[in-house]
Symmetry: C2
Subunit: 388 residues, 2 copies
């Protein structure tokens, strides 16, 4: 049982840029813990953006899920947190819904009202949750958002079926946007292309992740490609889909996709750092979770690529089948030390900063109001700067 990280970005801040508030992210990353909890900025405007995304997209999302044949409608509603396992209405945690928030902003970036992005927000959220349902089953994860995963409650067949259905609905809602007059047929078709390409990259990324589990060494490039697929592709689509539905040209769409893609890689770099050095909520001590699973995350790949003494010692340890999954706290702490000594931690911190900056730079290529730009910047900080 592992914490649901890789494919979700719904966690709280930890790393913070010191040059707070600078819209182009020139600040260097330091650990939030050294600045105290006060450095964490869940600015009201970000929470408003997320709430707006949920409020505007959830009705369409619920009516899409309600279209499914029984009992898939129930399984879907459970997965999204709308009902509990006994079918009673629940004010569940369906995640922060960063993707719908991005899709609405994306429409505004093209000069359209946020409403124009709603089918896009619903689509990316459907595809995101398709991947969660299937990934949880494949990875054997038993909890997500503090609840039992759908496959543990309703069985593997339902998790497969409902995942399949959500992916299909993700295309249907975009085609419907053309029928109901919210978008032209041509723009809806472009949005379908966007989500279809992203979905296939998402699947490619998950396939690479599964394949890496069988290998002792993964290159940094391979790791970035995997994370670009698993996390970058759908965030890229989320950031562009509202603009595409609103008729924006390819130049605008490409720039917004770059913002989302690099934001995804920045998120993932931070997530990988937290996977090793993140502290548990209870003890405040590192849990070494990814090291326990010998996950080939970015800090590990970067450390293995360095080639010095610590790097070679790390490689030997990871190739040794003995003790796998049963290492003591002490052994894992020493291994984390090797990764740090080989530069894996510092490289990944730099990578997070680089990707965050690249994401923000992409925004400069799109003419948009200052307010919309500030919202994109605030959302990026919210996504990248997390505590655990």
């Amino acid at each position: 049982m592992t914490p649901p990280r890789r494919t979700t970005i719904d966690t709280a801040p930890r790393l913070a840029p010191t040059a707070a508030g600078h819209p182009h992210g020139e600040g260097t990353y330091v650990e939030a813990r050294t600045q105290g909890a006060g450095s964490v900025k869940d600015t009201p405007s970000v929470l408003d953006l997320l709430a707006r995304g949920r409020t505007m997209c959830t009705p369409s999302l619920r009516s899409a899920v309600a279209r499914l044949a029984a009992p898939m409608d129930t399984v879907g509603a459970y997965h999204f947190g709308w009902i509990d396992r006994d079918g009673r209405p629940a004010a569940g945690d369906g995640g922060k819904a960063v993707r719908p928030a991005l899709a609405l902003l994306s429409a505004e970036a093209a000069g359209a009202p946020a409403e124009a992005g709603v089918p896009g927000g619903v689509s990316v959220e459907l595809v995101h949750n398709f991947s969660l349902l299937h990934d949880d089953l494949m990875d054997g994860d038993e909890t997500r958002r503090h609840r039992a995963t759908a496959w543990t409650v309703f069985g593997p067949a339902q998790a497969i079926l409902v995942g399949d259905a959500l992916a299909t609905l993700g295309t249907e809602v975009l085609l419907d946007a053309a029928v109901t007059g919210g978008a032209t047929a041509a723009d809806a078709a472009r949005a379908v292309r966007l989500i279809t390409t992203a979905t296939r990259k998402l699947i490619d990324g998950q396939a690479m992740d599964v394949a890496f589990e069988q290998r002792d060494v993964v290159t940094v490039e391979e790791c970035l490609e995997m994370e670009g697929g698993k996390t970058g592709a759908l965030l890229a689509a989320s950031a562009a889909i509202g603009a595409v539905l609103a008729g924006a040209d390819d130049r605008v769409s490409d720039a917004l996709q770059r913002y989302g893609y690099h934001l995804g890689l920045a998120f993932q770099a931070v997530d990988d750092l937290l996977g090793i050095w993140g502290a548990t909520e209870v003890t405040g001590k590192p849990h070494w979770g990814d090291l326990r699973q010998r996950k080939k995350s970015l800090p590990v790949c970067a450390a293995l690529a360095e080639g010095g003494a610590a790097s070679r010692k790390l490689a030997d340890q990871l190739a040794d089948p003995q003790g796998r999954g049963e290492e003591s706290e002490q052994v894992l702490a020493a291994r984390a030390g090797l990764i740090e000594e080989a530069g894996g931690r510092a490289w990944t911190q730099d990578e997070a900063r680089r990707r965050h900056q690249t994401a923000l730079a992409a925004l400069d290529e799109v003419p948009m109001t200052d307010e919309v730009r500030e919202h994109f910047v605030a959302l990026a900080e919210f996504v990248v700067v997390r505590e655990r």
Copy 2:
């Protein structure tokens, strides 16, 4: 381990219309066995049609599967029968490929060359194989087309991932058709709508099938709805997608979809009869396969709906948890007798005939050359008239 039936129509003839050769299927269905093997007609033209579909669609199909990230490309190639489990090229049995053959005919029905239907043929074959990969895993089926199913060779995660990827490719190849100039963007978008709707109905049908396993009674209407989803929806899309890509109007598309839909239900009715009374290749005796699994297939649902003495006795037996899956040949033969006594066998035979006739009647609404019409009629007979 059950024989792979429900979602495949790749089996040999058994039931034959007596008024052989009449293009509108006025013949009544009798069991082929009473007429001897000579009544089975694998006409050369049907085999040519199937070969043409495979020859024209396989290159695009292979290049689509080759796009997948490793090892999904290998898993996909194994599933389609292009390589064996060790990666060596194989002249495998990838199925008869009825759906691609229909898609090419469909383009011709709209007055276009068969080539115009190729992206449609590739798309429906990808979606069909997505459903096979996932269904085999969900149903625990260990063989398909006389080979070990993909999930038994490569594990459940790969079967889930490759299924997901094939479904996504099914949309991508249609969008590509607009880019490469094979179809207008508007027609490609209509084809995407067609395949997306069919995919969701397919998933709904499989979900109903899975749900029915937990129930003692299923109505005839529910059974038909399930089979319409699992088998009718994708055959409907196959019969219309070539015409849609070639710019046919909705009237033509609707009529061709009706042909495919009712053809699917006719196939399924025959399949359900064979599931109970079909003889094994080795012994020539009925294997009672569906009765052993207490499958709520059409003959069973129809018998349960009849309400007489035999019907009530059957209902009691199916509701009795005792002996489930361990009934003797004698008990199963007696149960088959009850179904026949309650009219379930005769009703299903009539249903197959009705659906076959309705399918052929739909062709009358579409102006097409006599040759194309004859090919549709021959394919229908090939699909419906099977031996085991």
